[in-house]
Amino acid sequence: MIGLRGVEVAAGDFSVGPLDLDVPAGEYAVLLGPSGSGKTLVLEALAGVRRVRAGRLLLDGEDVTQLPAERRKVGLVFQDGLLFPHLTVAQNIAYGLGAAWPGRRRRSPRPEVARLAAETGVADLIDRRPATLSGGERQRVALARALAAGPRVLLLDEPLSAVDADARGSLQDLLRRVSVDEGLTVLHVTHDLGEAFAVGGLFAVLVAGRLQQVGAPHDVLRRPATVEVARFTGARNVFEARPAPGDSRRLALALGGTLRTSDSAPAGMSHAVIRADDITVASLNDLCGGEGDTLLTGRVRRVTHAGATSVVEVDVPPLFQAVVGARELEALGIEPGSTVGLRVPAAAVHVV
């Protein structure tokens, strides 16, 4: 279990917090946020290599705020593995066994190293030096080394970002499997949404030093708590809006026009959020919708191709963005300057 209670961490002029977070025991949590949001500072504070300015850090219910790093029993894996370059793979893994924590029985290194190497899939690399390993292999060894010390919590700082696409999938599987097999609580830091969805059971979104939302991945994606979370999770349509006078299920957009929403808009709301893949693009003749849908027409300003799908920008106004499949794009003859219809389901309009 990981607990943050009003934690504040600072590095120069930049500060993070106060943060409150609970990661239940055995949970695989992802601390998600754009670069520079302060994720690594939080991780370093938990690991005990950076002092907190205020607040308390809890690991398995124990207050570890004042405990030195070597007594916290946390495993730390950085994005580049940071294997000790002067040691072999086996010696790297054995490092945690040799420098056992006070009160912890020192285990015989060799069988334990072999077991961990096998578990992480590096058994045949045991005599190699880190410089000869690929990015994925380094991360596997780094994981084995962290596990060797028998941590109660695993802290992963962008562990997949230096790994090529082929190795990434198997490493994600390994991380998930290890966390389950070892019963470890994991806090995985990343700015990559896809990576977060691949591994995480709980999301904590950190933007500009503030914890914006904690929840299940789907909730964070579909129901962002703040505009920052909406933007970070890829919602392309974020519009300033207010409840329309006399109709709480209709939103008046600051840039003009209205949108229907399925839930009553709270008085304090400020923005409407619609994911681009929830908006349907249709020809004017085929534009129709069910009850509660908002039907709009506009001129296509730009089409950005991204492989199997394209992002179509439609000036209504405001400027909406919708994701359209390649086949649909061709069938509708969508190109800059053409006029198209948009269907925005009420359920897809989220207010923050």
């Binding site: 790093a69 070597e70 945690g96 005599d127 000869t132 080394r145 962290a146």
Partner: protein, 248 residues
């Protein structure tokens, strides 16, 4: 290249093997050679004990006065060496503050080996501290963070993770310092003309007996320095074949 190699080569060739052998049989030259090397070694050892932790601190931590300390360490580099000797004499000489303070304990820095070591330490310390500091700065601090989470104390992380990655640079700095120490003349001659280090002996022979007499001790110290330099360079070269089975 020729600018450096020519004077050294000409000096060695000019002396000849016979004269060099004769020089080695002379007691005063042998004693001076031994004194010079050992005094420089003692100075380097003292600098290692004090300077390496200081270099590490400067590489890793930000604190008030850090820039001032860095500047003070580098100060001897820009000091004219005879001026450095005068400065040391005013503090550590018989009438100096430290000289008077240490005299009751039988420690004197004028005309003693301690004075030679002090002069060498003063002028050559920056070479070790600066090189070590730059080397430590090149070792990613996060290695230590990982080592700490694996159970190492801060000192253990330094000894087991950082120093093994930095030792080549530290050794390189130590050799630079030692080399600078054995060549020191200006500061040493002011603080301790006697016992004579090789540079003072060379100067004395040149003044008293001319170039031919001064060449043997000069050549000897150049050869010793050259051999040590080559030996350390061989140690510092990364060993080949340490990288296991080759790239994955």
């Amino acid at each position: 290249m020729a600018f450096v190699v020519l004077p050294a080569a000409s000096m060695i060739v000019g002396v000849g093997a016979g004269l060099l052998g004769e020089a080695l049989r002379q007691d005063d030259i042998r004693r001076s050679l031994w004194l010079t090397m050992s005094a420089a070694l003692i100075a380097t050892a003292i600098a290692f004990v004090v300077g390496v932790p200081l270099a590490y601190l400067l590489a890793r931590r930000d604190f008030v006065g850090k820039r001032a300390i860095e500047g003070i360490i580098d100060l001897p580099i820009v000091f004219p060496h005879t001026a450095a000797g005068i400065a040391l004499l005013t503090v550590y000489g018989r009438e100096g503050v430290m000289g008077r303070l240490l005299a009751p304990f039988g420690i004197s820095f004028t005309e003693t080996v301690a004075g030679i070591v002090l002069a060498m330490l003063f002028v050559s310390l920056p070479f070790l501290v600066d090189t070590a500091r730059e080397t430590f700065a090149l070792v990613d601090e996060r290695y230590e963070h990982v080592a700490r989470t694996l159970g190492s104390s801060p000192g253990g992380a330094f000894l087991r993770v950082t120093f093994p990655q930095a030792w080549r640079g530290v050794l390189s700095g130590a050799v630079l310092m030692w080399g600078r120490g054995i060549s020191e003349f200006g500061a040493v001659v002011i603080l301790a003309y006697n016992p004579k280090v090789i540079s003072v002996l060379t100067f004395e022979r040149f003044e008293g007996f001319g170039l031919r007499a001064a060449q043997p001790p000069a050549v000897l110290i150049v050869i010793v320095a050259f051999v040590v330099f080559l030996g350390v360079r061989a140690v510092l070269l990364p060993r080949r074949g340490r990288s296991g089975k080759g790239p994955a």
